[in-house]
C-alpha cells in the first residue's frame, strides 16, 4: 500500500542546532499515527513540517503522493483544502462566533451556497457535541469545548489528512477521553488519516494504530502500542515510566484540578 504521508530522511537545523536528524516515517491510509516524545524531542517541529508551516533543511515530505517542499505558495494554499489541522489552543478567531470560525475554511476555499455551508457547520457541531453553540463567542467556551470547536473547523472540509496538536493537553481525563473517542469516530466515519502529536501517554495508547517515538530529534521506534510498551529501549522505558509517576503524582493537586477548588 502506498503511504499517504512519507517523511523521508528529514533533517532540520535551527542555526547550528540540529532539531530533526534523518527522520523517516511512513503513514498508511486510514491510520492513526501518534507522534510522542518529551520536550525538545522534535515532535512539534515535525508537525510544522507536515502542515507546511516550515520547510525542512534536508530530506522530503510527501503528502498524498505530492512533495510539499516543491510546491509554490499558491499550490500549497490549494493543497490545504485536503488538510485539517486542530491546533493546540484551538486557534479560533476571538472576534468571530463559533459558527463563523468553523465556516471560515468553506468561505476561503469553496463557492458553496450559504445554506449548504450553514448546514455543514451545524452537522459538524453535532458531531463534536456542540450543537446549538454556533452563535457563542470562543471566549464563552470552556477549554474542552474550544478543542471540540477546533476539531469541527479542522474537519469542515472533510480533509483526507487530519493533524492534531496536543488534543488532550490541559484537559481533565473525562474530557480528554471524549476527545479521543471523537478522533476514533472521525477516522472510522470519514476514513481520515490522522496524525496526533502528544505527550499524553494514556491518550496515545487509546487511539494509536502505531506510535512514533521521537527523542532528541531522532526516531527511537515506530510500532504498535504493544510493541512500544514491550520495548526494552531505555529512553522509551523512561518515557513510559514517567506516565505512571504523573498518574499518581499528587492526588490532592489532581482533585483540586478537577473540582477547581484547592483543599
Amino acid at each position: 500500500m502506498i503511504p499517504v504521508i512519507e517523511v523521508k530522511d528529514v533533517v532540520t537545523h535551527y542555526g547550528s542546532r540540529k532539531i530533526l536528524n534523518h527522520v523517516n516515517v511512513d503513514i498508511q491510509p486510514g491510520e492513526i499515527m501518534v507522534v510522542m516524545g518529551g520536550s525538545g524531542s522534535g515532535k512539534s517541529t515535525l508537525l510544522r513540517h507536515l502542515i507546511g508551516l516550515e520547510r525542512v533543511s534536508a530530506g522530503s515530505i510527501r503528502l498524498l503522493d505530492q512533495d510539499i517542499g516543491h510546491m509554490s505558495h499558491h499550490e500549497l494554499t490549494r493543497f490545504y483544502r485536503k488538510l485539517g489541522v486542530a491546533f493546540q489552543g484551538g486557534a479560533l478567531f476571538s472576534s468571530m462566533t463559533v459558527g463563523e470560525n468553523i465556516m471560515l475554511p468553506l468561505r476561503e476555499h469553496t463557492n458553496l451556497d450559504e445554506k449548504t455551508m450553514a448546514i455543514m457547520v451545524r452537522m459538524k457541531l453535532e458531531v463534536v457535541n456542540l450543537a446549538g453553540f454556533e452563535h457563542l463567542m470562543p471566549s464563552e467556551l470552556s477549554g474542552g469545548m474550544l478543542k471540540r470547536a477546533a476539531f469541527a473547523r479542522a474537519v469542515i472540509m472533510d480533509p483526507a489528512l487530519l493533524f492534531c496538536d496536543e488534543p488532550s493537553a490541559g484537559l481533565d481525563p473525562v474530557v480528554s477521553s471524549s476527545l479521543d473517542e471523537l478522533i476514533l469516530q472521525l477516522r472510522d466515519a470519514l476514513n481520515m488519516t490522522i496524525v496526533v502529536v502528544t505527550h499524553e501517554l494514556d491518550s496515545a495508547f487509546r487511539i494509536a494504530d502505531r506510535i512514533t517515538v521521537l527523542d532528541k530529534g531522532e526516531v527511537l521506534t515506530i510500532g504498535s502500542v504493544d510493541q512500544v510498551r514491550a520495548s526494552t529501549h531505555t529512553r522509551i522505558q523512561d518515557l513510559l515510566n514517567r506516565r505512571f509517576e504523573e498518574t499518581i503524582l499528587d492526588p490532592d493537586e489532581y482533585l483540586a484540578r478537577l473540582t477547581g477548588e484547592s483543599i
Binding site: 483544502r81 476555499h109 469553496t110 463557492n111 458553496l112 451556497d113 445554506k115 449548504t116 455551508m117 448546514i119 455543514m120 452537522m123 459538524k124 453535532e126 458531531v127 469542515i156 472540509m157 472533510d158 469516530q185 472510522d188 466515519a189 470519514l190 476514513n191
Partner: protein, 110 residues
C-alpha cells in the same frame, strides 16, 4: 459525479453515481431542489455513489427539509457504507427514510 432523473408513475427517481464532493455537490443540490419543486415523491438513488462528503449530505438535508414543507415524500436508497457511515456520524440515519433497494422503497408507504 453523474446524475439522471427518471419519472415513474409512483415518483421521480434521482440517481447519482461516483463521488459527490465540494466540486460537484452544488450541481447535485440544484437538481434535488428542482425535482422537489414539482414531484410528489422523490427517490434519491445513491447506490452507485462511492463517496459523499459533508457538502453532499448538506444538500440532501436541505432538499429533504424543502420536501417536508411541501408534503413531498423524500426517500434515500443506499447500501454504500461510505454514505451510511457519514449519515450515521451526524445521526442523520435517524432523520432520513433509507431503503436498501429502489424496489423496497417503491413498495413501502411514505
Amino acid at each position: 459525479m453523474e446524475h439522471s432523473v427518471h419519472v415513474q408513475p409512483n415518483g421521480h427517481i434521482v440517481s447519482f453515481s461516483g463521488e459527490i464532493d465540494l466540486e460537484n455537490s452544488p450541481a447535485a443540490r440544484t437538481r434535488l431542489l428542482e425535482v422537489v419543486e414539482y414531484a410528489t415523491t422523490v427517490f434519491v438513488d445513491l447506490t452507485a455513489v462511492t463517496y459523499m462528503d459533508s457538502s453532499g449530505i448538506a444538500s440532501l438535508v436541505e432538499a429533504y427539509q424543502r420536501a417536508k414543507k411541501t408534503n413531498v415524500a423524500f426517500v434515500l436508497i443506499s447500501t454504500s457504507p461510505a454514505v451510511l457511515r457519514v449519515l450515521q456520524m451526524a445521526r442523520l440515519d435517524k432523520v432520513f427514510t433509507i431503503h436498501e433497494t429502489l424496489e423496497h422503497a417503491q413498495h413501502a408507504k411514505h
